[in-house]
Amino acid sequence: MTARIHPAWWLLAALLSIYPILANDFFTLQIGAYSLILGTIALSLTILAGYGGMVSLAQLTAAGLAAYVLPIFGTNSQGVLGIGWSHWLTIPMALLVGASFSALVGLIAVRTSGIYTIMITLAVAVSVFFFTRQNYELFNGFTGYAGIEAPKPFGYDLRAPLPFYYLCLIVAAGFGLATLYAARTPFGLSLQAVRDNPRRMAALGFSVAGIRVLAFFLAGFVAAAGGILLVFFNGRISPGTIGVDVAIDILVIAVVGGLRHPIGPFIGALAFVLLETFAIDLIARERFNSLIGTAFLLIVLFSPDGLLGLWNKIRPKIGPKISRPSLGLAGPQTGKTPQFDAAETQPISSREDTG
């Protein structure tokens, strides 16, 4: 459906563009930019899980490895490696490393399906985490790297609050829109078809594994972009950045936001960052995990489509009733998007809500 763009989207775009003017530096960076970065990494998971039906917990690892490329081949203050190449070289390299790693994970994972993918990607994520922690020659072990600077084209510091926010916004919005576009390309459609019925697609002559690995590659590219922004944001990278708990956080963000639309991970990231930042005022800092875990649990239990699904449930009750035009042939597919694969898995969104 190439329908007109809903006015709400224009409003959102305008709001995001003028946001730094309304907000102070803290809100611009720590809330705005950080949410966009986490959202971009989670978007990578949304692409795989939402459109491809493959839940990968190794997307943060792809982002982290991309982030490691910058201090290793660029500059860092640690005195280890740091070849000193320019950002023009290291950033494309980082993107490629992240995407290739993700494709590699895809190669391992595509032979399995459904629930196995989660476990295998989890195991890969953990092994890379341990490897970076033990390896001092390349990854500088437990300490990792610090003093990683964002590019300063023509002496203009991209890491200053305002430009950095816009950088993140451009990257995030770019990938979000690209995802929406790619979903309607022949590749995007075949990926969704593979999600819904891999056997039929294989019978039709499509290479199921090839489509999946390509999806992993593209998702890895998105994750790598998020990872690069993250390392500019923090100025440091260490194994802790790509630990299991953080990988789970990314999963929480993607699921809480909703896997059915690329805006989902950003909503999830915003909710997560707000909770993380302001939970101190509600409960003790140490109990943050209980709070976020409970929120996650409630969302998964009562609204499997995340906050987006919640919104879709509430909207008909509060808003004006809009009768949707019949979508003709494209009906069933466009009406309900992401569902998880595996022949015996009941799709999440068509499940009866027992809550």
């Binding site: 953990v126 995990n289 499997p304 009941q346 499940r351």
Partner: protein
């Protein structure tokens, strides 16, 4: 298993077993010592690996049983292990009896497992991904609440009286220049863990293969709907298996807490260990869990002893290698 079905495979296995027995029993000649280091290290690593494998088997057998029957990946399994450890510790401290602590952990976790099955999993039967996500949520909250209740300190159990101390094994490590043989000593408790794991494994095998309930469970693993159609109360079987799996994890918490220790973070460690074990062994198979546990336990200990830097990574290398050759796991179908 008929040895003549695969003569080469059988011959190779037999040869490997003989070499291993020789390595354990013989007094090592000098060239071997140069190659592999001291025999004491080797035998101790082997025993440590076997003990760890026993522990992993206890945790993973419940995990794989639950998956096999209900297609439910319970990612809160590690939390059940840790909670079993804590509950067992409290009871053992209060009563002064290790056995009582172990029994308390077994039954407390079995009831928690049954409650989880009825309250959470029954509501979303057949929806694997959602169950997985819910269990992740549960494990996050459980880990945090346990941290709140028991703090970040490491707890260690006193092993029961009779199992304390080391035993001398009838294995010669070296011959001293005086001609006296030096025997290898090993903590008795760890051997006990190994025996217990083997005993529980055999018990599970007998239960699953020789009793009517076990037959029902195996039928459920093969075809749930057909089992329900024959009039069996499948829901009850689910609760039973879930309780059994959770109880085993709780018991493993006490046993592992005594052999090693319990601390926050152990839940993730044992969850990952069981994940890798069942991926390697094949989901849903008890025998697979045993084989996977052996491989992973030995890989971990030998990795730590012989390649200390990357020892941790070795287990995952084993896993990826198995996946590349047999995606469904060694005993998977």
């Amino acid at each position: 298993m008929r040895p003549w079905a695969h003569p080469w495979r059988f011959a190779l296995t037999a040869l490997a077993a003989l070499i291993l027995i020789w390595l354990v029993l013989a007094v090592w000649p000098d060239w071997l010592q140069d190659l592999l280091g001291r025999k004491k290290t080797f035998v101790n690593t082997l025993l440590n690996g076997l003990t760890l494998a026993g522990l992993y088997f206890l945790v993973a057998s419940g995990f794989t049983l639950i998956f096999g029957l209900m297609r439910n990946v319970n990612l809160a399994h590690g939390s059940l292990y840790l909670m079993g450890g804590y509950i067992g510790y409290e009871v053992a401290e209060a009563s002064g009896s290790w056995l009582l602590g172990a029994a308390a952990a077994l039954f407390a976790l079995a009831s928690i497992g049954a409650i989880l099955q009825v309250v959470v999993f029954r509501r979303m039967q057949g929806d694997d991904l959602r169950q997985t996500l819910v269990t992740i949520g549960i494990s996050i909250v459980a880990a945090d609440l346990m941290l709140a209740a028991w703090g970040g300190t490491t707890y260690q159990f006193e092993p029961p009286e009779g199992l304390f101390g080391a035993v001398t094994l009838p294995i010669v490590s070296t011959i001293k220049s005086s001609g006296a043989a030096v025997f290898i000593k090993y903590p008795f408790y760890r051997l006990f863990v190994l025996f217990l794991a083997v005993a529980i494994g055999l018990g599970l095998w007998v239960f699953l293969n020789k009793t009517k309930t076990g037959m029902t469970i195996r039928a459920g693993v093969d075809d749930r709907s057909m089992l329900a159609a024959t009039g069996v109360n499948v829901d009850l079987v689910f609760v039973l298996v879930f309780a059994l799996g959770a109880g085993l994890a709780g018991l493993a918490g006490v046993i592992g807490g005594t052999a090693l220790s319990i601390a926050p973070g152990e839940d993730v460690r044992y969850l990952l260990a069981s994940l890798v074990v069942v991926i390697v062994g094949g989901m849903g198979s008890i025998a697979g869990a045993a084989i996977g546990a052996l491989l992973i336990g030995l890989a971990e200990q030998f990795g730590l002893a012989y390649f200390p830097t990357y020892g941790v990574v070795l287990t995952f290398v084993v896993m990826i290698a198995v996946l590349a050759i047999r995606p469904q796991g060694i005993m998977g179908r």
